[in-house]
Point group: C2
Chain length 276, copies 2
């Protein structure tokens, strides 16, 4: 077997995507759009969602379990499409496994800095993500002078999952949360939770037209593309019926089908329930 063949072999392997639940499907949607040849093995830890209100040790323990599961599926790269797990578990996972591992925090932070002219960046996310200061740290690491304003928006996840993403109540809640950025002169706002792209319209209304919303999931998909390209791991073969993406969940929530449809913009085939 030549070295060239070896590279091809690895490139046909799937990308592992891991989320605490189904929010990560918004990241899969972006990956599908940007990298249509790539096969995805998704794991949504729906039996233990949300991670956002769990302790650091618990989140790391769960993340390792899921990563081991995905590694057994011979993935070529791992995307942690969960802000909480990204901010808490990334260093541990990188120590344990020797494939490229990417979280959603750094790509989001990088893009926010690039988009900002005022050097005032806003971050919204779950309470866990905001309290961890992970975006703030990532932003400051890239540009020390940047001023970071954060606000937790805990109800957004539930608005997105219940399909209340465009109504008057969603708008009022969004206005209430985003009040805290008034007068801060922010011009880029990181959507620091994979559920939030579903609420993009109401968030944009509250933030005003001048603020650029940074979709961490979309930025992560771009970064995946860059990494795979650099490592000659892009899949050049098209997906087939037999060689498709596979979705695993640790439990089937009641509204799983509705929500996945809304998040992925297409019907979710090949979903399997597994016990870790």
């Amino acid at each position: 077997m030549t070295s060239r063949m070896k590279i091809n072999d690895e490139s046909s392997r799937p990308i592992g995507v891991f989320d605490s639940g189904i929010g990560g499907l918004t990241v899969v949607k972006e990956l599908n759009r940007l990298l249509p040849n790539e096969k995805i093995i998704y794991f949504g830890d729906t039996a233990r969602v949300p991670y956002g209100n769990k302790s650091k040790e618990t989140v790391i323990h769960y993340s390792l379990q899921v990563a081991y599961f995905l590694m057994k599926k011979k993935i070529k790269m791992l995307v942690i499409a969960c802000n909480t797990a990204s901010s808490v578990s990334l260093p541990t996972l990188k120590r344990h496994f020797h494939i490229p591992i990417l979280g959603v925090i750094e790509p989001g932070a990088k893009s926010a800095i690039a988009a900002s002219r005022t050097d005032n960046v806003g971050v919204i996310g779950t309470l866990g993500t905001v309290k961890s200061n992970s975006y703030k740290k990532a932003l400051k690491k890239i540009k020390r002078s940047v001023k970071v304003y954060q606000h937790a928006c805990p109800l957004f996840v539930h608005l997105a999952e219940d399909g209340w993403n465009k109504n008057k109540i969603a708008q009022m809640i969004s206005d209430e949360y985003l009040k805290s950025f008034k007068g801060k002169n922010i011009d880029s706002l990181i959507l620091g939770c994979t559920h939030y792209p579903i609420l993009k319209q109401v968030i944009q209304n509250s933030a005003g037209k001048k603020v650029k919303l940074i979709d961490s999931g979309r930025e992560t998909a771009k970064e995946v593309n860059r990494i795979l390209q650099k490592k000659c791991l892009l899949n050049i073969h098209k997906k087939t019926e037999k060689n498709h993406s596979i979705f695993y969940v640790s439990d089937f929530p009641h509204k799983f089908k509705d929500v996945s449809q809304r998040f992925l913009s297409k019907e979710l085939k090949h979903v399997h329930k597994v016990k870790l």
Copy 2:
């Protein structure tokens, strides 16, 4: 040891209270009020909350784990202060353990029937509780002619936990959910989730003055009193500093302290984290 002494010995044992998270603290509050001598051993499965969107098998599996944990603490009675676990796991738990076991569904249903003159009863709860039809079945079992109207209010849990329980947004969300009962002539409405008593005021506003709100937790505490009395298991000794209630959680959520304060109306002492 005489039989009399044996009874006394058992009566000094604690009552086990089990919830998927901290919502069950509203039930503990009612137990403390009605039965101040009773020592409580509480288990809140905060690492795996919520149960409401999990499958039946998962909820039964978790409930058995928690019940075994509490049984080892030598409880004299078990209260399942979680609507989802009550509706899903009660028969299995009753088969496994031979102490009195009480869920929150039946006491709530009984009280709602007693309070209704129109025989039109409303039920609000999580999606899981509503989909299980457990209140409907319990109500129909008591009185076949009763008409039951149900509506899921998934955002209420988060409003209660975030302290948005009295503001304008909470009122709007409550009005939106309770719209579905308009014209149904209901005169009693079951708060079928342990979080909902925190939102009593806005729910009452939406439902109108003529509708009696049935707090399942409060009704359950009354039923606990009746059962313990009947079985000569009421504790006649006052609680002491050394002999106090103990709270176990499977994880410490970020907002644990704030929320427990709001739910229990007093500071929570003696909280331990345990792994099941």
